[in-house]
Symmetry: C2
Subunit: 435 residues, 2 copies
């Protein structure tokens, strides 16, 4: 690595790949100042070398032959920006085993095949970096792995899907779910088939990666409990507002007594909590640890140029640290057990439809107390032939809340809905015992 | 650097130094996993080796003889955690020139002597890192230098002093300035002599460092325009609330047409802006750039263990990248001119006391229009024998706002106050042309 000119390669030359190429060219001086090297795209793997491109590559750069990249020992780092798990995954494995450092923006690949990838990186003695696989330009992986190396992060809370955050923000402005989704599609925030976003699947992959890195224990995608936003009604959004909260799709990874819980689902977020202020298509991640209390990072969680910016930063870091062994290891170094779902402690919002007559409130309060659920706040709202009770609880294990809801559903005074959503509250730190 | 055991040294062994030592011991495994090395404190410089310490050092570690650190080539990195510009500055210069990498938590040293320090680092061929000098554990320097290397950051907006943010938060809760300051002192957030905090001096040093790193051009401390919070009245806090804003002490560094403006002063922050949600003693920094739109980092901006966590992360990064030349350069690589103060564009809040009779509003509106100040919002409030006008302007160069205020003060209808504060608004991005 003594030469100034350093050849690099790309797998894929779509929106992100072309943007990576452009940023490397436009910022060559900045990169040379920080690393001593100029990164030059020597090869970019594409299916069709004849296709028109947004940012043209020099003659001979585009290639359809993967072996010209894998077998070129002069290439210092390869950025995988193809998307889809295959064939990207097979290429990345081959590259790592062949001793080529890799940077990937591929969330599903890292979430599903992290173990194999890091095993290959160790075998090849090279780095694998993946900042762009989570929340685009928000440098949450770097901060977790490098800045918070000694802080024992025990909780990650995030709004890690911009599409659903946009939809929920629009619903707060008075739109229905269907209208908000249509608007998100019109603006290009949501796909024609929005399933991955609205069902929480995209967020789950990001949370699996974040939890794995934060806790040093592999969290497989299947271990993430997932609920999307399709069940979020305008009524629920209004109820949140009445309690000075906002409905958000929250990813939450928690380390309790050396056991791990990772979940994605709608939650009520207190207006005073940093995540409540995250509007529209933005993302934010809060990291809570011993030495730092909490650090929150917020920014655009998607976008071609934003993703490319994170890919380039990783390429620069790889080139800047080659030969040192720095961050060459798998972030996973221990095996932690999953926390049984019922044991996860949280404050909750409960929504209960009950008969509207004297004595019902006492009955409900009795059932909650019997299940060990302590009430922090209660609002009774007259409904159409029934009453709706809005309850905010103190921190309670999920299992006790479920038991209380079961008991309440069985009461003769029950009139339909009895449901719960977790509450994310800043005040919780002091007042609710939220740890 | 092939050995696992790597001796390091500390200058200073007070709260931060002892915490650095403790974190290095407690997290030795984590550090070895990320770097391949175990960092062991071999020497810690103190004035009095016999004094009792919170976290005891092994026999022979404490020394009063600086030369034993400077002249020991086995020491891989030295953390300067003494505080005060001297003698810390002289020690750091000697260490760098002798080829010892240095990590410093010393804000005033970096803000005042950055040029000399980086010259010495270049001469010695070693890194100088300074994450802990700005906002403790919030990794804003790392994010600027490493994650945002290709994004051309053109604006840094920050709440970088926790003491004043706490005082202003308390004033919003109904306390007077004096009461809020006393409470901050009681809780240990403010010193007995709070001048450095409440006059904005502490924030100015942080903004000088942030602007220097973000723009690659040296911003001397004297170039930072500073106003503290002593002039913030309860009336002003109430006026902000009525406009859905909050009064915050905002540091702002702006790059306009290759010219630089850096200032610290009270501002009205729109409730929807990410910085509005920063409560109590927390800090936050928003970085706006080409490829990333904006990234906001929030967390505790002070504290012994938080500062130590940042120092350790820097030590780990130095040890992890030794011999690569990575980030060995001065972040300064160009010389940009200052922006004349009158040319800084911003939306403003204007507070005008005027005679309460027909025709006055038209007269004020005329003067504002004549100075080229465009009104976004106006609220008239009846006062004690006069009216108070609260005006929010569209983005306007500071000079035009000053000219308008001068003209209004000269009107026969003027009744006292005519003052302006900048407005920080999220809506500005689209609606106010805030760039």
């Amino acid at each position: 690595m003594s030469s100034v000119d350093v050849p690099v390669a790309l797998l894929g030359y779509g929106t992100v790949g072309a943007a990576v190429h452009r940023l490397l060219e436009e910022s060559a001086d900045e990169i040379e100042r920080s690393t001593g090297h100029r990164l030059r795209v020597a090869r970019a793997l594409v299916r069709d070398t004849a296709k028109e491109r947004g940012f043209a590559a020099a003659a001979g750069v585009l290639t359809a032959d993967f072996a010209t990249i894998r077998d070129d020992p002069s290439i210092a780092v390869v950025a995988e920006v193809m998307g889809d798990v295959e064939p990207a995954g097979a290429y990345v494995l081959e590259l790592l085993r062949a001793g080529r450092p890799v940077v990937t923006a591929n969330k599903q690949l890292v979430a599903r095949h992290g173990a194999e990838l890091f095993e290959a990186a160790a075998a090849g003695g090279v780095q694998l970096r993946f900042e762009a696989s989570v929340c685009a330009a928000i440098p949450v992986i770097k901060v977790l792995r490098e800045s918070l190396v000694v802080t024992n992060v025990h909780r990650v809370l995030g709004i890690v899907n911009g599409t659903t955050n946009f939809i929920l923000s629009e619903m707060e402005a008075g739109r229905s779910y269907a209208e908000a989704l249509a608007e998100a599609q019109r603006l290009g925030y949501a796909e024609g088939d929005p399933t991955d976003d609205v069902e929480g699947i995209d967020a789950a992959a990001k949370m699996a990666i974040l939890a794995t890195v934060a806790f040093g224990s592999r969290v497989p995608l299947e271990a993430v409990s997932v609920e999307g936003i399709r069940g979020v009604t305008s009524d629920l959004v209004a109820a949140a507002r009445a309690l000075d909260m906002r409905v958000k799709l929250i990813g939450r990874a928690t380390l309790v007594d050396q056991r791990v819980d990772v979940r994605v689902g709608p939650a009520f977020v207190d207006q005073r909590h940093p995540l409540a202020a995250v509007d529209g298509a933005f993302n934010a991640v809060m990291l809570q640890g011993d030495a730092i209390r909490e650090i929150t990072l917020e920014g655009p969680g998607a976008g071609g140029i934003e993703t490319a910016s994170a890919v380039v930063a990783d390429m620069v870091a790889v080139v800047g640290t080659i030969g040192t062994g720095f961050l060459q290891s798998d972030p996973v170094w221990r095996t932690l057990e999953p926390l049984p779902a019922g044991e996860l402690p949280s404050p909750y919002y409960l929504r209960l439809q009950v008969e509207d007559r004297a004595g019902v409130l006492a009955r409900i309060a009795h059932e909650l107390a019997a299940a060990g659920v302590s009430v922090a706040r209660l609002v009774q709202q007259p409904g159409d032939g029934h009453a709706v009770l809005h309850v905010v609880t103190h921190e309670t294990p999920a299992g006790q809340v479920a038991a209380a809801l079961d008991a309440i559903r069985g009461l003769p005074e029950s009139r339909g809905e009895a449901s719960a959503l977790p509450v994310v509250s800043d005040r919780g730190v002091e007042e609710l015992g939220w740890a």
